[in-house]
C-alpha cells in the first residue's frame, strides 16, 4: 500500500520518528519557555542539562544499581538542584541586565559542562538499555510500534500538558504568570518571588534532565547529545514564540512531525527544514506563532 507514491510503512515509520523527536523538542522548549518567562534568561545550558540527565541515569545504574524508573525520578531532582545552585550563585546577578549577558553566561556553562564530560567519557556514546517492562512492541498491522517509543511520546505529552495546566489554571501558576509581568508588585503582595524564580529555574532544568533520561535508551548517553539537539530546539522556540507555554508544546510536536515527513518526501531538506520555517516565521511574525508581540 502507498500514499502519494510512498509506502505507508515508511510514512508511518517517519511519523513515529517525528513524534519522538517532537516529544524531545516539546519537553526542552517548554523548559526554556518557562525559564525565559520568569527569569528573562535564555538558558543556553539547557542542552548540557539534558545531557546531564542522561548521565545521571547512567551513573545511577553503574554505581548504585538503580534502574530506569528510579532514574526518571532522581535525575531531574539531582540536575534540578545543580541548576538551583547555578541560579543562586550566578544567574541571579544578571536579571537586571540585557538578555545577551544571560545567554553568554549560560552558553559558557554549556561549553564547560560538555567539555568536562567529554574529557572524562569521550565522545562515543555509552549504552543504556531500555527498561525490561517496555521492551518489545506492537504490530499495528500497518507498522510496528516499539513500546518504549510509544511510552516516550505519551509520557512527555502528559508531562507537557500537566505543566501547561499548572501554569495556566492553578493558583501557583497565576503567581508565576503575574511575576512574569510585574515581579516587584507580586512580591509586595507577600509572595517570595526570588525563591519562586529559583525553583522555577530548577523545575525547567529538571524538565531538561527528564528528557535526557527518556532519551538515554534511544540515543545512548553521549556528552554531546545536548549540543546537537539544542540548536534545533532554539529554532523550535523561535518559531513557537519564546515564553508561550502551549506554543512550545504544539510547535515542538508539530515540527518533529514536519521534519519526519520531510525525510520521506525530500530527504535532502530534512536537516534544514526547521531552520527554513524559522526564517519564514521570523519574516512574517517576529514574535513567533504563539508569542505576544511586545
Amino acid at each position: 500500500m502507498t500514499i502519494l507514491g510512498v509506502p505507508t510503512q515508511a510514512l508511518f515509520g517517519q511519523l513515529l520518528i517525528g513524534l519522538i523527536n517532537g516529544a524531545f523538542y516539546a519537553l526542552l522548549s517548554l523548559g526554556l519557555s518557562v525559564i525565559f518567562g520568569l527569569l528573562n534568561i535564555i538558558n543556553f545550558t539547557h542542552g548540557a542539562q539534558y545531557m546531564m540527565g542522561a548521565f545521571v541515569a547512567y551513573f545511577l545504574l553503574q554505581w548504585a544499581g538503580l534502574g530506569y524508573w528510579w532514574a526518571l525520578l532522581i535525575a531531574p531532582v539531582v540536575v534540578g538542584i545543580t541548576g538551583i545552585a547555578l541560579e543562586r550563585t550566578t544567574l541571579k546577578r544578571l536579571y537586571h541586565l540585557d538578555h545577551l549577558y544571560g545567554l553568554l553566561l549560560t552558553f559558557g556553562f554549556a561549553l564547560i559542562i560538555q567539555g568536562l564530560f567529554r574529557h572524562e567519557y569521550g565522545s562515543s556514546g555509552l549504552p543504556y538499555s531500555m527498561p525490561r517492562e517496555l521492551a518489545g512492541g506492537q504490530n499495528l498491522g500497518f507498522m510496528f510500534l516499539p513500546n518504549y517509543r510509544a511510552w516516550v511520546i505519551v509520557f512527555s505529552l502528559a508531562v507537557c500538558l500537566t505543566t501547561w495546566y499548572v501554569i495556566e489554571r492553578t493558583r501557583l501558576g497565576s503567581y508565576l504568570r503575574a511575576a512574569t509581568e510585574n515581579p516587584a508588585l507580586v512580591q509586595a503582595f507577600g509572595i517570595n518571588v526570588p525563591r519562586m524564580i529559583t525553583l522555577t529555574y530548577g523545575f525547567g532544568v529538571g524538565l531538561a534532565a527528564l528528557a535526557g533520561v527518556l532519551a538515554a535508551p534511544i540515543y545512548q548517553v553521549n556528552p554531546l547529545m545536548g549540543a546537537d539537539l539544542i540548536i534545533v530546539v532554539f529554532a523550535v522556540v523561535v518559531i513557537g514564540g519564546l515564553g508561550s507555554i502551549m506554543g512550545s508544546i504544539v510547535t515542538g510536536f508539530a515540527l518533529g512531525v514536519v521534519e519526519g515527513f520531510t525525510k520521506v518526501f525530500y530527504p535532502e531538506a530534512s536537516n534544514t527544514v526547521i531552520f527554513v520555517i524559522m526564517a519564514l516565521v521570523l519574516l512574517v511574525r517576529p514574535s513567533g506563532l504563539f508569542g505576544r508581540a511586545s
Binding site: 493558583r171 497565576s174 503567581y175 504568570r177 503575574a178 512574569t180 509581568e181 510585574n182 516587584a184 508588585l185 507580586v186 512580591q187 509586595a188 503582595f189 507577600g190 509572595i191 517570595n192 518571588v193
Partner: protein
Amino acid sequence: MPEPLLGVRDLHAWYGESHILHGVDFEIRPGEMVTLLGRNGAGKTTTLKSIMGIVGRRRGSIRFEGRELIDLPSNRIARLGLAFCPEERGIFASLTVEENLLLPPVVRPGGLGVDAIYGLFPNLRERLRAGGTTLSGGEQQMLAIGRILRTGARLLLLDEPTEGLAPVIVQQIGVTLQRLKREGFTVLLVEQNFRFAATVADRHYVMEHGRVVDMIPNGELDANMNKLHDYLGV
C-alpha cells in the same frame, strides 16, 4: 491618644543615584485615613513604595505595630499586614479578573470575603472570566482596590486611586473608602485631588522636595486654603 499604627521617622530613599526622600516624618493612628498631598515629584509615591519596600535603597525608620520594616523585603512587609495599590493599578494582563482578585495571599484573618468585594464593586462579578486588562480604567481601579481588601491587611497604601477616572467612579471610590474606614481599615492615601481627599480623610500631610512640611487636620482645611494652594501650586 492611641499608639501610632505606622510611624515614619527620618526616611530617606534613593532610586539609583538620585536621592528622592530627604527625611520624611509622619505617623498614622489605627483607623485613621490620612493623605499625602503635594506637587508632582514631591516624593509621595516614593514614600508609599518605601514603606512597602519596593524602592532601590532606603534608610531611616518605618515602624508598623512597633515592628521595624526598614530592613525587611517587601514580601515580609506584606505578610505583616500592609497592602499596596499602585498608581498604575498593576492589573495583570495574563490573568483573568478572578485570578487578579484572588492573587494576593491572605496574610491575616479579617479581610473582606469575595462576596463583600463584589458587593462593593458589582461590575467585577460580571467580568470574572475576562482578561484583567480588558476592563475599563475605572473597573481596573476597583479590581486593584478590591483584591487587597481580601488579604486581611489593616493598613492600605493607595496611590492616586481616582486619577483619570470619571466623576461617577470617583464618587463610587469615595463611598468605598468611607465604608472601609467604618470597618476599621487604616488608609494612607496619595492624592492630587485634594477636594476628593477632603471628603474622606482625617488629616493631610503636605510634602515638598522629599520632606513632610506641614500637617493639616481635615477640619481646618478651609482655614488653611490659601496656604494649601501655595503648597500645591494650584
